[in-house]
């Protein structure tokens, strides 16, 4: 072989290895995340029993009480309420964009959805703080406007772009034939959507909902600005409480690194990390099943 060919071959190998390394870097990052959060967070259990952390509502680090149940519950509750409102609106929005809107309307909707995504979460939080909080206080006649309801309301708007864009893709990938068959049999537009298109796009829509929930449960700034940041269990829609991310952001700044308090915050981050990883695994499972069926 000529020297030139050998050089080419060597470059070829080198390029492939460098590319593989950059791809593997992402795996390294995610493993490092789990290791560092785990190593820092699990140290909490040397001072606090897992039972207390997960099931006690008493969070009072000055007295050595580290019950994070109120935050876990708060996170789950706002996520659930946000998806309850934002989920259906997002999916219907996707049906509108994918199956009803004329082309020129779509040309407006698509950039609009991107813009929803691009508005910084502090701006969502700030509008929540200056507009929604006073509005909730006035309208419902409660002492403070901070709390579960306000946070869920802001979150239900923030998850819209995630739900809409993934559902739209799912709806667009439903074969046209199915719809045509249904319409040919005399079904109306809505009957076709309801009985044929939506069921066919179900795996994609479930994925959209789960990723919407992942966005809601991890949202930090917007929630922190409107939820009231009170470490107690929410007992009504209007009670100020705290979520896992909002509590971390409020307390991390004045917590000594390596103290039980600091470690407990890292443990909360580990819980968040594991929840988001589980959600991805579920999404994976759904799309794998879809691939088998197709």
């Amino acid at each position: 072989m000529k020297k030139y060919d050998l050089d080419r071959l060597r470059n070829e190998k080198l390029a492939k290895n460098i590319l593989l390394c950059s791809a593997a870097f992402l795996t390294v990052v995610i493993i490092a995340l789990i290791v560092f959060m785990g190593q820092q967070g699990l140290q909490t259990f040397t001072d606090v029993s897992p039972f207390e952390f997960f099931f006690s509502t008493k969070w009072n680090p000055d007295n050595g009480q580290y019950g994070a149940f109120s935050f876990i519950f708060g996170s789950l509750l706002v996520t659930f309420l946000a998806i309850l409102v934002g989920g259906p609106i997002g999916v219907m929005g996707a049906v509108f964009m994918a199956k009803l809107a004329p082309k020129w309307v779509c040309e407006i909707m698509k950039p609009a959805v991107n813009l929803y995504m691009a508005i910084p979460s502090v701006v969502y939080g700030f509008i929540g703080l200056t507009v929604v909080v006073p509005a909730v206080r006035e309208y419902f006649g409660v002492p403070v406007g901070f709390g579960i309801l306000t946070a869920s309301f802001i979150l239900s708007i923030m998850i819209l772009p995630t739900v809409i864009s993934i559902s739209t893709d799912a709806l667009l990938s439903v074969p046209k034939m199915l719809e045509e068959g249904s319409v040919a049999l005399g079904a109306t537009y809505w009957q076709t959507i309801w009985h044929i298109v939506l069921p066919a796009a179900k795996p994609g829509i479930v994925t959209a909902i789960i990723l919407g929930m992942a966005r809601a449960i991890g949202e930090t700034m917007a929630v922190q600005m409107v939820i009231g940041n009170t470490p107690r269990l929410a007992d009504s829609l209007f009670s100020p409480t705290s979520t896992l991310p909002s509590e971390i952001v409020v307390e991390m700044g004045n917590t000594p690194f390596g103290s039980t308090w600091g470690n407990a915050l890292f443990l909360m981050a580990l819980v968040l990390l594991l929840i988001s990883l589980i959600m991805i695994l579920v999404v994976r499972k759904i799309s794998a099943k879809k691939a088998v069926e197709a």
């Binding site: 950059s22 992402l26 990052v29 991107n114 701006v123 537009y189 968040l272 991805i280």
Partner: protein, 280 residues
Amino acid sequence: MNAKTQDKIAKVCLWFIGFLLIAILAAFLGYMLYKGLPVLTPKFIFGMPSDMEAGGGVGPQLFNTIYILFLSMAFSVFIAIGAAIYLSEYAKDTALTRFIRLSTESLATVPSIVLGLFGMIVFVDFLGMGFSILGGALSLSLLNLPLLVRVTEEALQTVPQTYREASIALGATKWQTIRKVVLPEAMGGIITGIMLASGRAIGESAILIFTAGTTVSRHMADFDVFAGGETLAVHLWYVMGIGLVPDRVAIANGIGALLILVVLFINLIFIFAQRKLKSA
């Protein structure tokens, strides 16, 4: 209720939701601009902040925002493009590539506060960078990575397979084909993708509070990467939560409008670039 009426009602509802989506967006953008635009004087945009008195600006924060965004992109773009090329051009369906794909998707859903704490342990503490522009930029680059990988992969996939075949048939190696044919062809898509990612990264705050910190250098336009790296979004949060200045709502309004303007600008360019790519 018969099927026809049901159909009509459903269509009206869908149109209503489409309208509602635009209306909510317009309300958010309109409110922020209405409140914030009057605040945006040159003195506010480029001036130094003040801790106690009214009338401070956000100059250093604006500078930090752009500087951190630029650095974080510089750190992540090449790795992301490399990873995307590997996944889209080389990867076969092996356990390794499946695992890499899973990692990319997982990284994309990791809450940004978790990445922020990770950056705090690794960059700020362990590598001793302190709350700095560099620490913030490195952490932010982790957030950019998965999104950049996805947009680059999408751009690569729009390059027709026949281009690759033609290049290989002419005797080019795989790497030569990628470098001389596929990448130049996909470059437009990659650049618009980078812009979309920048638009998201510019308003990010949770990841930066504990890595870039909430202080700024006393010198305007300080290129020292170890200086405090508070950005616009973090400053908005900081003045509303902890700040002592009497005109904090005005400052927050101004920052909000400034961020919205930047985001609008980036998205407009994105739309035009995409139109151009499509028609080309």
